[in-house]
């Protein structure tokens, strides 16, 4: 009976999540591209050998990881600060909370288009401001040094509210008398943050970290609209590279290999995170 109730949902879940992985495993052993007339032809491990020697794949892997670590790190710091601010009680807090959530709720492609205009060289407002100060304008989206930071900025702007909300929810679970007792014993507020808030918040920080890292490692929408992966592939992510292989180069076999390769890297990252957590707990 209960299996019957679950069956429709589980079937759709298997079709959407599991089947693609199985299909990629098969497709990564085939050549299916314009050269084969878009028909699958078995090629053994050729796609995987190509992946291991593909400088662009590894460059994208490094770029994606760099983007994920830097932006999630920034989001945690900023999110913590915002959560602390929203945790205090003051008038209008509810309205401020929902207004700060706006960047998170907007479609990524909408705000990416907005950032393109804000970061425009030389007509965007940031460069207009630099000009007012007598500084030279900066080619935010055309320089290989600046473009990835622009992507980090736009992502931090968009997803920090999510992190802040999670941490805020965690803070509201901490009983207030802990702080009162701490203050009675002469503890200072700053010490309370380090000794009470942060340790008790650790599970929430961990959840936010896992969610955000996984999403950031799959970054696609933002990069596609903000930079298109450029300049000179300096902001290209793994997902965008796999997308280009399928939709632009029509090389489906290799695209599937890239997706599965990215999946393996994700698993490795998840495993590292779990092991780090275990090790912390064992040593504590």
């Amino acid at each position: 009976m209960s299996i019957l109730l679950m069956a429709p949902a589980l079937l759709l879940l298997l079709a959407v999540f599991l089947w693609p992985i199985v299909h990629y495993a098969w497709l990564s052993l085939q050549a299916q591209s314009v050269f084969t007339g878009l028909k699958p032809v078995p090629v053994g491990l050729a796609n995987w050998e190509r992946l291991l020697g593909d400088g662009r794949f590894w460059q994208d892997a490094v770029q994606t990881l760099r983007f994920a670590l830097v932006s999630v790190g920034l989001e945690l710091l900023l999110g913590l600060a915002i959560a602390l601010l929203l945790h205090q009680s003051w008038r209008g807090r509810g309205l401020v909370r929902s207004l700060t959530l706006l960047p998170w709720a907007l479609p990524t492609t909408v705000m990416a288009l907005g950032w393109r205009w804000i970061l425009n060289d030389p007509n965007g407002p940031i460069n207009g401001f630099l000009e007012l100060l007598g500084l030279p304008s900066l080619p935010f989206l055309a320089s290989t040094q600046l473009a990835w930071l622009a992507v980090v900025l736009a992502d931090t702007w968009k997803t920090t509210p999510f992190v802040a909300l999670l941490l805020l929810a965690g803070m509201q679970m901490i009983p207030a008398d802990l702080y009162e007792a701490f203050a009675l014993e002469g503890g200072r507020p700053m010490q309370g943050l380090l000794r009470i808030t942060l340790p008790l918040l650790r599970p929430y920080i961990f959840i936010a970290l896992v969610f955000r890292l996984a999403q950031a490692l799959g970054v696609f929408d933002l990069v596609t609209v903000l930079t298109g992966g450029g300049p000179a592939s300096s902001t290209e992510s793994l997902a965008l590279y796999a997308y280009l292989n399928a939709m632009r180069f029509l090389d489906f076999g290799y695209s599937a290999t890239l997706m599965l390769g990215t999946f393996v890297l994700l698993l490795a990252a998840a495993l590292a995170l779990v092991l780090a957590q275990r090790w912390r707990r064992a040593s504590a």
């Binding site: 209960s2 949902a9 879940l13 205090q88 492609t109 969610f211 799959g218």
Partner: protein, 281 residues
Amino acid sequence: MSSQPCHRSGSRLRISLVILLLLWSLAPMLWQLYSSLRTPESLLAGLAGLGGGWTLINYTAVLQANPPFWRYLLNSSVVGALSTLLTLALAIPCAYSLSRRGGLLKVVVGGGLLAAAVFPYVLLFLALLQVARQLGLANNLLALCLPYAGLSLPLAVLLLQAAFADMPVELEENAILERFTLWQRLRWILLPLMAPSVVSTGLLVFLFSWNEFPIALTWLSRSELQTLAPAMARIAGSSVFTVPFGPFAAATVLGSLPLLALLLIFQRQIVAGLTQGAIKG
């Protein structure tokens, strides 16, 4: 909380921090609003062109484009609403039976749902596209509900399962004694009590479907079928407008307004859904 004298300087600091926070969150959107109302000449004049040059020309350009911009908003709304209904219809029975049993199955399904909820789904797009082409579902707006429901299920089931688990067992036992069928118990007893969780879950699914990009981008090639997210990317890549930033900004504003309204009306439910999802899941 208290009326200690040291709180006065504290509240001044807090006010400046709140203003800073609002600036950080809203300034980019306000700049879009401002740009959308400016003539092309004043946009190119940069900050020096702050005076004069107000216009609605950008909005008429976007709304009279082919297809008009409201079409994308309509498409997104239809797909969002149907995906939400389909997801809830599948997730509610699944969550119910998951919450009413223990053992290995629950652990396996729960773990799988958790992993799927975190998985960056963009990696699935190629396989899903190939299925869609084989089944003739490409360029079918309503067919998008299938992958959207599938991708939303992990979070939806986890959220609703937690809500079911919070319901007291006696409530249902009494209803069974009264010979209520399962459907009656769900419809008249459990779901009304869980309404807040159902609404939060539905809102999160709606937001996801409204904002989804890679699948909509690859499934729909006919521009009049496109949803908002791929339409924005197409507008970004097109060179229809000579000075495109005004129309871009108008499109951003029009694309943001429905969500701003949704957020202001349902902020409590959205916040509850988001935090519950992370804490219980």
